[in-house]
């Protein structure tokens, strides 16, 4: 296990992120370029979904990352409330809009996949509905963290919200699944492939890693900005 404790100090984190960001940005761009090439030209069309399977290379990693992002928010919230890590609050503030953006990408690409496959842009499918509620949880977190004149209060209130949200997320998921099985319109064919072929799996995982790198890049960049912004606010308060 790599000891990441040295990053808990904001000034040291800032130096670290300034050092890694340029090379991480370059590597992410390269990975994404290769990923797009694989998604468009290497991966074959699916026998059921046809070419629309190419949307999945964006949609599925975006879903994974938006869920992982909320878990990250909850972890950061816990470390703020329990250990009072000064960096956790800033990183949560930085990560929430990133997670919300990935949730939005997941919803919009899912909708654009649904139009040719289901014949409509929006279906009250269990997974899409859960993702929509996750998106709302992100919106609440972002709004709450910015709703106070003192940023520290917003940090702690949204940390509590993230912890409550992460407890409720499985309950919401379960209830939406229940609701969906009751109201499942017969026309929708479910596409749960029993096993994904490697020709699809490799581009999917490649895109997942590329988008994960983009996620990390955005969180580092925005955390750095939040550190600088807090310094600026402190300087203004002192002046």
């Amino acid at each position: 296990m790599v000891d990441l404790h040295f990053l808990a100090n904001p000034a040291r984190f800032r130096r670290f992120s300034q050092r890694v960001l340029p090379s991480l940005g370059f590597a992410t761009a390269l990975m994404l370029a290769v990923g797009f090439y694989m998604a468009f030209f290497v991966a074959p069309a699916d026998y059921q979904q046809g070419d629309t399977v190419r949307i999945m290379f964006l949609h599925v990693p975006a879903a994974w990352l938006s869920m992982a992002g909320y878990a990250l928010l909850a972890g950061l919230g816990a470390s703020l409330l329990v250990w009072r890590h000064p960096l956790a609050a800033l990183m949560a503030r930085a990560a929430a809009p990133v997670g919300a953006s990935f949730a939005a990408v997941c919803l919009l690409t899912g909708s654009l996949w649904g139009r040719p496959m289901w014949g409509t842009y929006w279906v009250w499918d269990a997974r899409l509905t859960s993702m929509l509620l996750l998106f709302f949880l992100y919106l609440g977190h972002i709004a709450l963290s910015r709703a106070y004149d003192s940023p520290e209060r917003g940090d702690r209130a949204s940390a509590i919200l993230a912890l409550v949200g992460v407890i409720n997320l499985p309950i919401i998921k379960f209830s939406v699944d229940w609701w969906n099985t009751l109201h499942q319109p017969a026309s929708i064919t479910r596409l749960d492939a029993p096993a994904i072929h490697n020709s699809i799996l490799v581009p999917l995982l490649w895109m997942a890693v590329s988008l994960l790198m983009l996620f990390v890049l955005l969180v580092l960049l925005r955390t750095e900005t939040e550190i600088d912004r807090r310094r600026l606010e402190n300087a203004e308060a002192a002046a």
Partner: protein
Amino acid sequence: MSNHAAYILAAYLVAAAILGGLVIASLGARNRVRRELAARGLEKRR
């Protein structure tokens, strides 16, 4: 890309717009804050 090309391209363009927009906005915010810090002499000008 046969019949559904429009939807596939739209999906990739939407994703590029959202995530690319977020990258650009984040870079812009960082540079703005850095400039203000520099204006206050808290950070060396580059």
